[in-house]
């Protein structure tokens, strides 16, 4: 149930992101807000529900970004694993840390997408390295907005938390 709610939240984020980009950016820049969900899952969720949630979020990104199916799903799960590894050695606390990690992950996801597209697509249609500045802007913007996603995900998780009454802490 919990991964499904996360996926639905990612869907809502994607819709919000599309509307925001339409009104604010007009194609001048892009965002990958669902990556913040993946980062959150990597930090706070377990291995199974986290990876399933990340795959679901990746699937949503596949559908909403219009990439070839499977690309973003793979990258989301890969990002989940990378962040999990990072999180085991670096304690990410607070909004700033979350934003920095999300920005870095977003850049890795974008770079991974670029690399895989270069590998899989014919060279004449494959995107070039000239997308790098755009990817950096995307990572920075997504990282800057990620604390909002963090709050949303925390509230969603709060819905599934049942505290036993009368328990002394």
């Amino acid at each position: 149930m919990k991964p499904l709610v996360h996926i639905l939240f990612a869907l809502l984020l994607s819709a919000l992101q599309a509307s925001l980009l339409r009104w604010a950016g007009g194609g001048a820049f892009s965002l990958l807000l669902p990556v913040a969900c993946v980062v959150y899952l990597a930090i706070h969720a377990g291995n199974v529900d986290g990876s399933v949630g990340a795959a679901g979020v990746g699937y949503v990104m596949d559908l909403t970004t219009g990439t070839t199916k499977g690309l973003m799903t793979f990258l989301a799960v890969a990002a989940f694993l990378v962040v999990r590894v990072v999180q085991s050695s670096v304690d990410v606390r607070g909004r700033v840390g979350f934003a920095a990690l999300t920005g870095l992950t977003t850049f890795l996801v974008s770079f991974g997408a670029l690399t895989l597209t270069l590998v899989a697509s014919p060279s004449e249609v494959a995107p070039g390295i000239r997308l790098l500045p755009r990817m950096l802007v995307e990572a920075a913007l997504t990282g800057a907005l990620s604390p909002l996603v963090l709050e949303g995900m925390k509230r969603l998780d709060g819905l599934f938390r049942h505290e036993e009454t009368g328990l002394l802490r």
């Binding site: 869907l11 819709a15 509307s19 199916k69 694993l81």
Partner: protein, 292 residues
């Protein structure tokens, strides 16, 4: 085997979540395929969410632009309204200036067309078109500018009148429509002579002393004949209208529509001197100088 699967189930799951999408990706990248039913269903489910979000953002933007951003709009509107009014006044002034330039250009062209005459340009500063018959204009040039009594006053369209009284810096012009005004004329086409007399009405004069047997028709142009010693020869005075040729009497009865609309004159030329031909008498001629 089952125990092994149980033991490494998380690892297997994660590996599957990595490998399967990657396989799907490479398969689809080489052979692009249509979206599946599940994909379409998810996209279909997303559409209302996107619409709702878009509607919310649009509504918020409209509310901002329609209400909150209108703070200070009244002041801006008032300032713009003032600016528009100022521009309208300025435009009106420019239009008037343009009309004046056009009139002056015509006057200049008219003056250049007759190099034998000398002129003093003047602005009309007063008008008296009394119903009792007195028809006067006041101009801003007087004796110090060379404007003296009996000097002809004209525009590019024709005769306006003659100087009635002159002071140092101004003069009164007796219009040809005044009751006491009389101008010697001839029909431009047939040279038939006559006399144009004012009736006290700005739009009409009377033609006197045109002999009954002479050639004259409605619409004929009347020009100054130069025989009255006031006006140079050949200046348009008006057109013959309402011509009546009676069976008896010495003269033809006709009205004259003045060539110049005296109610709209703004700039005039005072003819201060001109060269005369044999049948013409003017101030610059020896004959005129000898007159009392």
């Amino acid at each position: 085997m089952l125990q092994l699967l149980k033991r490494y189930r998380e690892l297997i799951l994660v590996a599957a979540l990595l490998v399967v999408p990657l396989g799907v990706y490479f398969a689809r990248a080489r052979r692009p395929a249509e979206r599946s039913a599940l994909d379409r269903a998810v996209v279909w489910a997303t559409a209302p969410v996107e619409k709702a979000v878009s509607w919310t953002i649009t509504g918020a933007l409209r509310a901002w632009n329609g209400y909150l951003a209108l703070h200070g709009a009244e002041e801006r509107a008032v300032a713009l309204s003032r600016e528009v009014n100022s521009l309208l006044v300025e435009r009106q002034e420019l239009l008037q200036d343009r009309a004046e330039v056009e009139r002056l250009r015509r006057l200049l062209a008219f003056a250049r067309a007759a190099p034998g005459r000398s002129y003093v340009g003047a602005k009309v500063v007063g008008v008296e078109l009394s119903p009792s018959g007195l028809q006067l204009l006041v101009i801003d040039r007087g004796e110090e500018d060379g404007v003296t009594r009996m000097k002809p006053v004209i525009t590019a369209d024709g005769v306006v009148g003659r100087v009635h009284t002159a002071t140092a810096h101004g003069a009164e012009v007796l219009l040809i429509t005044d009751r006491s005004s009389s101008v010697a004329v001839q029909v431009d086409r047939s040279r038939t002579r006559g006399n144009v007399r004012g009736l006290g009405r700005p739009e009409m004069c009377k033609l006197d002393y045109a002999l009954r047997a002479e050639d004259m028709a409605d619409g004929d142009l009347l020009v100054t004949s130069g025989t009255d010693g006031v006006f140079p020869r050949g200046l348009p005075v008006g057109k013959v209208t309402q011509l009546k040729k009676s069976g008896n009497g010495l003269f033809q009865d006709a009205m004259v529509a003045p060539a110049v609309d005296v109610t709209r004159v703004e700039e005039v030329l005072v003819v201060s001197g001109w060269e005369t031909r044999t049948s013409e008498i003017g101030p610059a001629s020896p004959a005129a100088r000898g007159r009392p």
